[in-house]
Amino acid sequence: MNCRSEVLEVSVESRQVDEAMLALLHTILLHRSTGKFHYKKEGTYSIGTVGSQDIDCDYIDFAFVRVSSEELDRAMRKSVGEFKDALCNSGSDGVGQISLEFYQKKKSRWPFSDECIPWEVWSIKVNVVSLANEQERQICREKVGEKLGEKVINIVEVINRHEYLPKMPTQSEVDNVFDTSLKDVQPYLYKITYQITDSLGTSVSTTMRRLIKDTLAL
């Protein structure tokens, strides 16, 4: 099984980075989150209810729907905040990429750590632009809103192809497929990584360092 990979590209102003990333990541997670599983006897389980919440953007003429989960929102904001800081502080031309990767864990024997097998990766390429005056900002506000609308339609189109999804796990394996740490919802296991492209075009990849660290961690 090959990992499904989708790439989205947006050009935004620096103050719009947070909201644009949150809009797209939350739209994806809305579709990749279920209610909490409650396992019962006889191999049955029940699923909780996922609530939704409308969010208006302040710097973009756009509104989106996210899962009603403060914990999930906090996690997203933290990751997006780190990405934005890296983007602004890197001294690059403001080009970067943030990736939302859904994976499954595969148990390995000691001394090897569990293997993480991605099955879907969403990459959002961001190009930060600088605008000269308020009129351009106003135009950018509307244009980015339209672009994000197109990206939401793209996301929905991909998701509704109904391609590979992990099998529903038994109780013992649920942590290999879902993130069960949240109180109210249960997204598929995911990780968020980012990389910033410097002005020379080479990738200053903090991601790679993290991956190497994870692999070597025993």
Binding site: G35, T44, G51, V65
Partner: protein, 511 residues
């Protein structure tokens, strides 16, 4: 086609489709209420949240949806449509979008009804939540208020897209394959939001680009079936009460099984028996509508790509769907926004009928009453002007010709009729040929008081609006000076040549 489906699966599938249709209508209408929707996640299943999504049920909307369905289900040849339109306070209306839930003949025999279809329908509802915030009608609905409201209409049968105007666009929300057909959910939305109003009076076009509100009065079938997308609280209701969300004891199951397919029957025993309401499925064979939704506009068109089932299908599960009535919610209608905003949004073009040549000074004067409607000038009186400082507007005058708010007095350059002035008799300059046609105005500028200063602000304004013509611009004077200049030119040149050294020294001091 149905022979391969077990009776239980058939029953489950029909129930899923029915409640999916009802929830679809709820999501669409609630997205057009004009306010932000927020529902809570719940870790414990309540048995009343179909498709594991917290979507509240507005009883009126459910009632309308059931009335439209009339016991039928969306199926092949039977589409359920939700039409969203905008209606101004003046009574003009315009279709904004049409959401279509339909089914085609492509069947997926291998798909598991009680799990895969259910989960994919849940996914489709989530997609609907996302897409309803992306179409242009969402922004319009968020701004609805006193000037216009958003209405919805549910109908069952043939899809009608002609009201969306030219160039409407189509977006597909998603598809779900089932053993009896493929469910498709899509939206066709208007892109052209500017229209000419049928009430536009037959006068000359205004010289300035004053926005004229545009709507066309169209014969509107089924206008009586339009409903506002603003839910009233029970206290405000006009005494009409609607039955609870479900008039049958149907709860949606939230239990699944991780057992393999061979244990299907033993798993079924763990569920509660269904208590189906009597007003459930009732198929009516007589139906003429087509299910072909795609009527392409200039840019429309929905790709009908076949969908293959997913591979990671888990062990089969049994499900006995039932649903309990859920509570009502009260949505406060959105606060009104400025009329100018909608006019900016919707009145994108200011086309005007030009029934006369543009060089006629007589201007047509349009005032905005409400967001999108003109009233003919002869119906507008100063009393009903919604101008700022309308009290200062002149009261006894020929409206079109002497409205200084539209055409402030110009300098009295006589020659071109385009520059005819509107000034009063106080003007000291030469006046245009049209001055005799005008009546003296009692001009009262804003913030002026007559009793404080010896000079009235209005007088000051009039005087400086109409300054005397410069003598150098007068043709006779300039013609005379030209002749004199030519005569004296040789003398002047000789004098300058004598003093050329002085001029050169002066230039050097400047460098």
């Amino acid at each position: 086609m149905d022979s391969d489906l077990s009776p239980q699966d058939k029953k489950d599938l029909d129930k899923f489709i029915k409640f999916f249709a009802l929830k679809t209508v709820q999501v669409i209408v609630q997205a057009r209420l004009g306010e932000k929707i927020c529902t809570r996640s719940s870790s414990s299943p309540t048995g009343s949240d179909w498709f594991n999504l917290a979507i509240k049920d507005i009883p009126e909307v459910t009632h309308e949806a059931k009335k439209a369905l009339a016991g039928q289900l969306p199926g092949i040849g039977r589409s359920m449509c939700v039409e969203i339109s905008l209606k101004t306070s003046e009574g003009d209306s315009m279709e904004l979008e049409t959401w279509c839930l339909e089914m085609n003949e492509k069947c997926d025999k291998d798909i598991k009804v009680s799990y895969t279809v259910y989960n994919r329908l849940s996914l489709l509802l989530k997609s609907l939540l996302a897409i309803t915030r992306v179409t242009p009608a969402y922004k319009l609905s968020r701004k609805q208020g006193h000037d216009y409201v958003i209405l919805y209409r549910i109908y069952f049968g043939e899809v009608q897209l002609t009201g969306l105007g030219e160039g409407f666009q189509t977006v597909r929300v998603g598809i779900v394959g089932t053993p009896v057909g493929t469910i498709t959910l899509s939206c066709a939305y208007r892109t052209n939001l500017a229209f000419m109003s049928s009430r536009q009076f037959e006068r000359t076009a205004p010289i300035m680009g004053i926005i004229i509100d545009h709507f066309v009065d169209r014969p509107f079938a089924n206008m009586g079936h339009m409903h506002p997308c603003n839910y009233r609280t029970a206290a405000e209701d006009e005494g009409v009460t609607y039955p609870g969300v479900e008039d049958s004891q149907e709860v949606c199951t939230t239990s699944f099984s991780t057992s393999p397919p061979s244990q299907l029957y033993s798993s079924r025993l763990s569920y509660h028996p269904t208590a189906l309401g009597s007003a459930d499925l009732c198929y009516q064979p007589a139906y003429n509508a087509t299910h072909q939704m795609v009527i392409t506009g200039k840019e429309g068109g929905v790709p009908q790509a076949p969908v293959q089932p997913s591979h990671g299908i888990p062990a089969d599960q049994a499900r006995m769907p039932t649903c309990t009535p859920s509570g009502m919610t009260c949505h406060i209608p959105a606060t009104p926004s400025s009329s100018g905003e909608e006019a900016e949004t919707l009145s994108r073009s200011s086309e005007a009928k030009n029934n006369s040549p543009p060089d006629i000074l007589e201007t047509t004067f349009t005032r905005k009453v409400g967001a999108f409607v003109n009233k003919p000038a002869n119906q507008v009186t100063t009393a009903c002007l919604d101008l700022p400082f309308a009290a200062f507007a002149p009261k006894n005058f020929d409206f079109e010709e002497n409205d200084l708010m539209v055409n402030p007095p110009d300098s009295p350059v006589v020659e071109s009729p385009l520059q005819g002035s509107l000034h009063s008799d106080d003007s000291t300059g030469s006046s245009g040929p049209l001055q005799d046609d005008f009546v003296m105005l009692d001009f009262k500028p804003a913030f002026s008081k007559d009793d404080l200063l010896p000079i009235d602000l209005g007088t000051f304004y009039r005087e400086f609006q109409n300054p005397p013509q410069l003598s150098s611009l007068s043709i006779d004077v300039s013609a005379q000076s030209m002749a004199e200049d030519l005569d004296t030119l040789p003398v002047k040149l000789a004098l300058y040549e004598q003093k050329i050294d002085e001029f050169d020294a002066f230039v050097e001091t400047l460098q």
